[in-house]
């Protein structure tokens, strides 16, 4: 029963977010700020994780497929497909749920308990739209870049470690990357990214916006934001994969 209540108020909040934007120019400025805060500040973590994951996928595939009957391009192919299909969208999504989600929930939650949201409302500002819409636009717009970055860095990471450890040659790896490439996989990864960005931002904002109490509750909301957006990502990963790849 409680879950239906929650979903109901989540959609009510979304309704408020998408109704009657205040002055456009202000939204533009806020969005730029959010891109910096939620997007640019995530570049380093995404790059680091992608490089390591690409490397690990490469050496694991290599060590587990030492049979001479398997084609030599297999390592590159496996790295490419796992990065494209799951890693750069879903795993990066989960990491961002942790970083961006907790950030959003604690920021908005703090504004709630310190009555800053009330102050906005009393002035006649649509606080939901003012606080949440720029974050949604910023992440939907910027996360695809993070995904592209993750794909590139992941593949490079796989290549450099593969060559460094000698499990694969540059030529084999490149052959693998190019073998039977399906361009739609990139679209698929980007669609997932956009959906995940929306889920992370709105679910975390919802958790923060509805905090009642004090700083303890803000911390709890921030944890709930991460858990709920991660679960939502996994669920929608399943749904989207079924819809887009079957």
């Amino acid at each position: 029963m409680r879950i239906f209540n929650l979903i109901g108020s989540y959609f009510l909040l979304l309704g408020k977010v998408f109704s009657m934007p205040e002055k456009k120019m202000i939204y533009y400025k806020l969005t730029i700020k959010e891109i910096e805060k939620l997007g640019l500040n995530s570049i380093v973590i995404v790059a680091i994780i992608s490089a390591f994951m690409g490397a690990i996928i490469t050496i694991q595939t290599a060590y587990n497929t030492t049979s001479p009957f398997l084609p030599s391009y297999l390592v590159g192919l496996a790295a490419r497909d796992s990065i494209l299909l799951e890693f750069s969208s879903t795993i990066v999504g989960l990491i961002l749920a942790g970083k961006v989600g907790s950030n959003i929930a604690s920021e908005i939650g703090t504004m709630r308990v310190s009555q800053q949201i009330d102050a906005l409302e009393v002035m006649g500002v649509n606080s939901a739209s003012y606080l949440i819409l720029p974050k949604i636009i910023a992440t939907i717009f910027f996360n695809p870049f993070l995904t592209m970055l993750s794909i590139v860095v992941g593949i490079i990471g796989g290549w450099s470690v593969g060559v460094f450890t000698g499990v694969v040659t540059t030529q084999e790896y490149i052959n693998g990357i190019q073998y039977a490439f399906i361009p739609f996989y990139i679209t698929y990864a980007l669609i997932k990214t956009v959906v995940f960005a929306f889920l992370i931002t709105t679910i975390s904002a919802f958790q923060g916006y509805n905090v009642e109490g004090g700083s303890l509750e803000v911390g709890q909301a921030s944890t709930r934001a991460v858990v709920a957006s991660s679960v939502a990502i996994l669920l929608f990963n399943l749904i989207l994969t079924q819809l887009l790849l079957s």
């Binding site: 102050a119 009393v122 500002v125």
Partner: protein, 250 residues
């Protein structure tokens, strides 16, 4: 002028406000007083529309505030300034940005004009040369004053203050009280102040409403306070040794 009539508000069966009727006059500092938990903040939040009332009417001048459409409400809200118990400054914005915020949202002033207005308001509350500091970098009393500056930036017709001097030393409290009173008279605003501080009551209470367990128990001016024969009200007023002493002298 703000008039409330027959206000009821409860949270999950717990009745917090019971049939509140009151008129708050223009150009005067109207006080709502009462013990902690008596429902002062809830009443204030009902009046500005942060809570919906269960029953009753709230009139701003002659407009029935709690029954009009969202857009009409918004027009009235632009005329409301509110000072929250905690100050509620935006902590990721500087002092200047805080005061400029309502101007950014609701006017088409140029940056020059906005700066000028911000500096005027900050000067009015005696905050000078702190424009680029963040709320966390100034003292609690200064935060309250910046919040007042933000509340008056748009020349409000109605000013609400929730315990403007809680957490401040007696001297700063008096300064804040006097500032509120001056602004009220200078711009002929309808000001409503929540407080449980007898100093404020005796200092600035043009009109006083006493709330006891969610009901209006007493009403009068600061001159009437020491003469009341209402038991619960006297319990509140003479809880302080100081007021008892004054009563003894009278």
């Amino acid at each position: 002028m703000i008039r409330v009539s027959g206000i009821f508000k409860s949270f999950n069966e717990h009745a917090v406000l019971k049939d509140i009727n009151a008129t708050f006059e223009k150009g005067k500092t109207n006080l709502i007083i009462g013990q902690s938990g008596s429902g002062k903040t809830v009443l204030l939040k009902c009046m500005v529309g942060l809570f919906d009332v269960d029953d009753g009417e709230i009139y701003y001048d002659d407009v029935l505030f709690n029954k009009i459409s969202f857009t009409e409400r918004k027009d009235i809200r632009k005329k409301i300034g509110m000072l929250f118990q905690s100050g509620a400054l935006f902590d990721s914005s500087t002092v200047e940005e805080n005061v400029m915020f309502p101007l950014d949202m609701f006017t088409n002033m140029t940056l020059e004009e906005k700066r000028e207005r911000v500096n005027f308001c900050l000067k009015r509350v005696n905050i000078i040369n702190f424009n680029h500091l963040f709320p966390a970098e100034i003292s609690g009393g200064m935060q309250k004053r910046v919040a007042i500056a933000r509340a008056i930036a748009l020349n409000p017709r109605f000013l609400f203050c929730d315990e403007p001097n809680s957490g401040l030393d007696p001297k700063t409290s008096i300064l804040i009280d006097e500032l509120i009173k001056e602004i009220t008279e200078e711009y002929d605003i309808t000001t409503i102040v929540n407080t449980h501080d007898m100093n404020s009551v005796m200092g600035i209470g043009d009109k006083i409403i006493y709330i006891y367990k969610g009901e209006k128990w007493w009403e009068g001016t600061k001159e009437d306070v020491l003469q009341s024969d209402n038991k619960e009200f006297n319990d509140f007023v003479f809880a302080s040794a100081l007021t008892r002493k004054i009563k003894g002298i009278l």
